[in-house]
Amino acid sequence: MASRRRMLLKVIILGDSGVGKTSLMNQFVNHKFTNQYKATIGADFLTKEVQIDDRLFTLQIWDTAGQERFQSLGVAFYRGADCCVLVNDVNVMKSFDNLNRWREDFLLQASPHDPENFPFVVLGNKIDVDGGNSRVVSAKKAKAWCASKGNIPYFETSAKDGTNVEAAFQCIAKNAIKNEPEEDIYLPDTIDMSGNQQQRSSGCDC
């Protein structure tokens, strides 16, 4: 078993409403799919353990609502995210065009330490629909955009039949840990009595 400590990774899933964010999660976590559409309200939370190179990770997945009226929740929800997953529907051009807005909005609201290198993953979902005949976003176009944003990994997925879902989330976890900063040694101060003055925080709360 993994001897090193388990890590918890916070993963935010973003994208227009109806692109299949919740379905992707359900496929990944519960291996289930339903054609019925149910709008997510606010956010749903799921957890799943993954193993990468002998190490156990817990993915804490924040499945957010795509509707615009929930966008105000951003700051609260995005804080401390380890990875952000952008989802579009390959059959709807608008959902692809909006990826840029989702990405920028995330970086603005989460204000991560190193925005240039913050790990994103893009998923082009619903490739199964109509045998691919209704598709409007080509893989080439999607990859080009991903390359222009600092080589974001791109996966074509189907939440319905499970294509690439496992692989995508493996990649998500790997990218999240790559971004892990070196942790300093935890070294708080020691009370200093030498100045003959009692060191006490001035705002004593008692």
């Binding site: 400590r5 918890l8 916070k10 359900n26 939370f45 817990t58 401390g80 060191q199 925080s201």
Partner: protein, 633 residues
Amino acid sequence: MASDSDSAYDSAADQNPNSLPDTPINHQFNSAIDDHLSSLTLTPLNDAVSDLAPSQSSNNVLDANSLADQIEAIDRNSSPEFEVSTVETTLEVAVSSEVVVVVEERENNLERESNLESDGGVVVWREVEGDAVASPSSSGYAGERGSSSASSASGIEEIEEHQVRVRDRSLVNGIADSQPAWIPGKRHENEDDASISWRKRKKHFFILSHSGKPIYSRYGDEHKLAGFSATLQAIISFVENGGDRVKLVRAGKHQVVFLVKGPIYLVCISCTEEPYESLRGQLELLYGQMILILTKSVNRCFEKNSKFDMTPLLGGTDAVFSSLIHSFSWNPATFLHAYTCLPLAYPTRQAAGAILQDVADSGVLFAILMCKHKVVSLVGAHKTSLHPNDMLLLSNFVMSSESFRTSESFSPICLPKYNPMAFLYAYVQYLDVNTYLVLLTTNSDAFYHLKECRIHIEAVLLKANLLTEVQRSMLDGGMHVEDLPADPSSRTGSASSHLGQHSPDRFRDTRTGVGGPCGLWHFIYRSIYLDQYVSSEFSSPINTPQQQKRLYRAYQKIYASMHDKGFGPHKTQFRRDENYVLLCWVTQDFELYAAFDPLADKALAIKTCNRVCQWVKDVENEIFLLGASPFSW
């Protein structure tokens, strides 16, 4: 738990503006003051508290006649349920079960109403709609939803984790030590929020980071609860985004209490009917325990990196937190904010203090000798003194960490009330199975010096036979209600009562008796000047851990109501329900909490309280640490 609607809730406020006695206890034993009767003012029927006109008596004596009359006059239907709802504006959400959200506006600290509508522009979490307690809505257990709403929880029994009493251990601890055995370590680690057993637990505690990463959970594995933890963060952050702060959510029988400490969020979910103030105080202590281990410098880690995961820093400390949470149900120090001493003859404690003072003069900041959670003696350099909460957290840390028992240790610790930002160093050594010495210093190189101090102290203590006396006191216990001296007015000797002088048949009494005189079952006396309390030993009929816990919860409730900022502070309260008569009396000098047989006579109970106070006064040399500098800031 007693249902409040059945109980007669009687209380009275006795204002004593002239009372400024020099000594903690100053009594007149003749309690009949007729003038009281004419100066009574009764409050409206729906008010549980009534004020007495200023008393003509300048003594701290409970007046049986006036109090009893007043009690009769107050409406019996008044229930304490209104406590929170009148202080804080609450709101009920019309969903499957009653959900009340109390928020506090950050800017001006005023409570205000906050509406969560079930649809429309305002966000509602599904778990609020469906289940009574917040829980993840789509974590793969949709089939269970609805089966565990609070309103249908009537069949739920509290699973008594820690109430298992290990026979061998209770023998070692002696008959007087009534605290139930606590089993160290995490309980029910394989549970998560999908487990029915997890959902049925009566009291959950969670610590999480402001990004929703779990730090500690009382039950279940933190990682498996990551989704639940995220839900909690979402609730807190959502309310914060609106410039408010969520304090309390009521959902049927459950209360969800929130405490935000910078990047650290603490949450308690409880259906124990404890007051909000008590639960919040418990969260404060839990936070203090975390600070004791890490200092507040941990905030800097979050400033640098908001996704910081602090669980590794707390590695191996599960037992410290679970032991503290366990103490919320047996240790009155957790709500009284006072410490208690091991009863010892005055010269014995003096001798221990003298040797500790020796080392304190050699650069030790605090020297503390304790037996379990009771202080034998303590000394602080430079007039510095320890806050009772710091002592509670320190002794909990030492007692719950197994490694301290096996070897001498030197460990960084932080005293949150002394200085939350920085570490001290603690030298810890057990001198026998229950007695341990803690020497605190600011010098990280002081181990060998402190080791020498300990050798010196231990030699002196052994020579003076002090450890033997400590063990004997552990066995004998302190104040037994059966030993309450007879009516002081008929007493002949002035200072004749000593704790050592038990009546020979006391041991028979504790097994078969019905408590002390006049139906007195138990009492706690807290000295305000000393920051110390003394609690009588438990005896029949309060002799099981469950009964003791129930009594402590009742004390805790009456403590909260006495200190309620909206109505209090009160002076006296008399409350009768099917379990007890509780009598509480607060003066400038002390607080007395006494429990009687539910059929006890009021006037006699009040008289008995006066006798208890006199008794405490008579033996204060033995039960309190006198001459310790009072808490100074």
